[in-house]
Symmetry: C2
Subunit: 459 residues, 2 copies
């Protein structure tokens, strides 16, 4: 019986709604060497505002291209919406610490207490707001695990915008209930690759029975946006604008840690396209770049889709269909088709250009982990901390636990902070496989990666 | 665009962990006319401590039978566990108010922000604690919608107890993912009526293809507990002990309203067995009974299972198998088989004896609502407040909205408080029916009820 547990402070630290950050933080302003610019795939020159106008909302393009403004004020209507579910709690994982018998102090920023089930709502509401401001009819997007599509459906319902979602096919099939949540919010969901777009038909022809990837779904959504009057495309990760909106996570964490008088030693997040990790670490990276404090940052990715740990740092297409701008990033090649791993949200071939550059500058580390080990961590976390985590988030849990177990060996009482991006309520089919012992790990071979690299553009 | 929304206070009021109530409140202590005692079905005399020992944990029997002690201190280990997910927020429904254009102020106490998805965890952890204290090996229980079974699995995982759950068959089939959550927490789940117990086999023989009911599942769980050494039965609703533990909801609400300087006019909750409603209103009922304040209380039940609004106030069996004590309560008859309504947690033929007595004394009102109207309210709530509610909780939302719309007619700015007991993430099949327009309403006929009443015991 767990009678010995000593809780010497609050489990959960909530800021007040009045303490909500009033501006997002743009880490590029503090980077001496900036991320390489996006390139127009036709001209191979840096993209301009005009290049991007047919695809993105005007205000969002400004945010995308601005590498000097450190703070962007959050519009009042977005702050109002944020109050629906923010500030999110910073939780001290007393129960997990006890189970691990570690001297480390573990904290997690929990973004799952909203119906989208993740941090995605932070950027969805911002992008829907700017689309409405611009007088658009609706937006198109892709979704992997379904969190982003749900978040965008919620945001569009709030602003009365039409929402068209291309959902990675394997997630669409694994998560029928996620679809229904989107439908309840009025979202229109299509499995990708579909036969409704040119690029979808092409991918289906080239890879019959393809289970889809974020790269494919992006191409389809971009095409659909351009084909309809009054529509623009919005993206849930990778882009600078998305990382910008997600800094609300890191800014709240920074304030909460200050309140607690705690200095983080290691900050950990899972990385698919980079939105959660970038949002969480940006304000701390800023401190590090300005020489105010030192931190270790660890990006955690699945061994099945190891963009940072086994990818190349080069210009590549952001989407499988090669219709989006090219980005210099750590990439497995835009033709890489990850296996139907259960962490749908991490099945992206590339990585945010900001995070890629920070990794290249060795400001941030990266680690890849295997799926079964991730679910072992998820189960331990669920049973001790009482929250059933999303498979994506569980990648961060795995490494946080590994670091805490390392502290057990060394006796160090490090402060470990990780991002718990979401809940796993719609991932029970994956949990079922884990419970049944039928979950498999997949790691791409060097040959597979080499074949994918060979198809990358020569820029 | 919703730019006009004025938020003149916090959306969410969180108490600090230090402000957590330190004792549960027993409303029977303030009732002049007490609820009628449980009867031993063999002797027809009030049950004694010894009568109940083979079925329930000792400490819980003391709580069950004590009608005079007003406050029971909450053991330290339970308070520690509560800090994992409590205090829960009291939310001002600014966005819903705006959508309804009502002068009313609507508040809801949100109990869904934990993995069990509902308030059930409040009593589960208490019951698991007392079972562990008594040195038991494990517990058996029933579950309707699955929230209680999940909560108990979580609590048993925490205290390393075995957990056997009999799940109402129609919910078991409608909610495969809910089962997996229980399994992830180590729970063993059996659909009820099953062939693993004598009473289950009997019910299956009498009603071939029975979709189950809470009454059946209770009988099976009680039988299973008695058949195994070191096991006891625990129940997620109806009993006095459960309402006692759930008063943490009402006590926190009371404190939060005081902090806000708000006096509630109407307090609303859904009622299946009565645990959430009883827990929410008890402290306010106490104020009313002591003449300190006046409130309207409204119990909301499904039209498909209208225990209070169309039942009889009489002694009846609490379970379909007639092996539990008899209770004087509003009941549709223990042989009543409700239709496979989607609000699995409200499919109980009877009602807490405390709430039954309060209803009979006209301290509390009751209202029944039809399923499609409930889902209409759920959809509006989801789209405005951003939380996808459980079908059970949505019964309370329906009546809160109706009362707010009444205020719109009269111009009164009443303070309406309701219990939002849980989230609907595992109820997407019901939402799908609603989205598809294939949801049906069912209301039992007078003849059906008369036939069920005829089978009730003559006490």
């Amino acid at each position: 019986m767990r009678t010995s547990l000593k809780i010497d402070g609050p489990c959960k630290t909530y800021l007040t709604e009045a303490e909500l950050p009033k501006a997002w933080y743009n880490v590029r302003a503090d980077m001496k060497k900036k991320p390489a610019p996006l390139l127009n795939p036709k001209t191979l020159k840096p993209v301009t505002f005009e290049d991007l106008r047919p695809v993105f909302c005007d205000e969002l393009i400004k945010q995308e291209l601005d590498e000097n403004t450190a703070y962007f004020p959050i519009p009042e209507d977005i702050l109002t919406f944020y109050k629906m579910y923010r500030p999110s709690p910073l939780v001290r994982a007393y129960f997990l610490e006890q189970a691990l018998e570690t001297p480390a102090h573990i904290y997690y920023k929990f973004e799952g207490n909203n119906t989208s089930g993740s941090h995605k709502l932070n950027s969805a509401i911002a992008q829907a707001y700017y689309a409405k401001q611009q007088g658009l009819k609706g937006v198109t997007t892709e979704t992997g695990a379904g969190q982003w599509g749900t978040a965008l459906s919620m945001a569009c319902a709030f602003f009365d915008l039409e929402c068209q979602v291309y959902m990675v096919k394997c997630s669409y099939e694994q998560k029928p209930f996620r679809r229904e949540v989107m439908r309840t919010y009025g979202g229109k969901v299509t499995p990708s690759p579909s036969m409704t777009t040119e690029v979808g038909r092409k991918i289906n022809a080239e890879f019959p029975g393809a289970t889809g990837s974020l790269g494919c779904a992006i191409s389809e959504a971009v095409e659909a946006a351009q084909a309809q009057e009054g529509f623009r495309y919005v993206l849930g990760s990778v882009l600078n604008q998305v990382l910008l909106h997600q800094t609300i996570i890191g800014l709240e964490t920074q304030t909460a840690l200050k309140k607690l008088g705690v200095k983080a030693d290691i900050i950990i997040g899972c990385a698919g396209g980079g939105s959660n990790l970038g949002g969480l670490i940006s304000p701390f990276v800023g401190e590090k770049l300005r020489g105010e404090a030192d931190y270790r940052f660890i990006a955690v990715e699945p061994a099945s889709c190891p963009s940072l740990t086994r990818g190349r740092y080069a210009y590549d297409f952001c989407d499988t269909g090669c219709i989006c701008p090219m980005a210099k990033m750590y990439t497995l090649g835009s033709k890489f088709m990850p296996s139907a791993s259960h962490a749908g949200g991490l099945r992206y071939h590339g990585m945010s250009t900001i995070l890629s550059e920070l990794y290249d500058q060795k400001v941030m580390e990266a680690r890849s982990v295997e799926q079964t080990k991730v679910f072992e961590a998820a189960e331990t976390f669920a049973r001790t901390e009482g929250i059933l985590p999303a498979p994506e988030s569980s990648h961060a849990i795995r490494v946080a636990m590994d670091e805490a177990l390392e502290c057990k060996k060394t006796g160090e009482a490090k402060n470990i902070v990780f991002g718990l991006t979401g809940t796993g309520y719609f991932d029970m089919m994956s949990y079922a496989r884990f419970n049944d012992g039928t979950m498999s790990d997949y790691i791409p071979t060097d040959e597979e990666l080499a074949a994918s690299f060979a198809k990358m553009p020569k820029v």
